[in-house]
Amino acid sequence: MFKFIITLFLGFAFGSILLASQAFSWFRIQEMFHFQSFHMFGLLFSAIGTSALFLFIIKKKKIKSIHGNQIEVKPKKLELKANIIGGLIFGLGWSISGACSAPVYILVGLHWQIGLILLAGAFTGTVIYGAFINKLPR
């Protein structure tokens, strides 16, 4: 229960930041891909920088989780073709829908019709991936 509430709260906080910074917005995404504003790039770069700094501190100081375990961070496996082709397809979807995975859920709460359509699309895409998983190049 405690874990559920913590996770729910963190999701709420993450969503609130994406809302306040308008990163969830279709228009901000188009603006980014048209290089019309530094806003989204600033967001991404400063988020990555902050995260990298804290990951460094966690590693250096051997910081433990609240459960007393050593925190270990694993990089995602390199699958060149999957990363590139999947990435290109994701990027297309990101620009068309103006939403990546987190904003899809935010939009369910904000504009429920379009949000649910997006979510249904994302599930459909996942099912298609699951059906063809063995035929896709890696």
Binding site: L10, F27, L78, G93, C100, G125, I128, G130
Partner: protein, 163 residues
Amino acid sequence: MNTPLAWYFAGPLIGLMVPILLILREKQLGISSSYRFVGATLLPKLKYFNYSKNQDRWQIHFALGLVLSGFAAFQLFGAFDEVVIQPILDYEKAAVTIYDVKNGLQFFLGGILVGFGARYANGCTAGHCIMGVSQFATSSIIATISFFVGGLIGSLFINPILF
């Protein structure tokens, strides 16, 4: 709320999610695995969905928090239509109505590509761009570059046809 929270405040706050999730929940930031979890619940017979889904359960709770944040924003500020939009390039006319259901087909198509691409690339903007790149993981750097190339093509060449 017409102007967004400045990137130099919001960006570091987004970045802070990574250590907070690690310390409080021992989880690496990511959201798109939640799609697989739901698939496993709805269609357990498909081989890809037959996995130990408990590892991804937390993402459903996280996603629920995201939905609630959108709902709370709706209650506080309305549909955000007037908020989000400083007119951008050719999309001024579309500004108020982009989230209209008449664009449902385009959004459904975009959703399919997001879901398929995120699972195929093994991560999305959160898992690859933020979590992965801040670890300097090769897979995530390559995926992030691909996200942007795909996004440029979509935004510059496909969207003018679709919308």
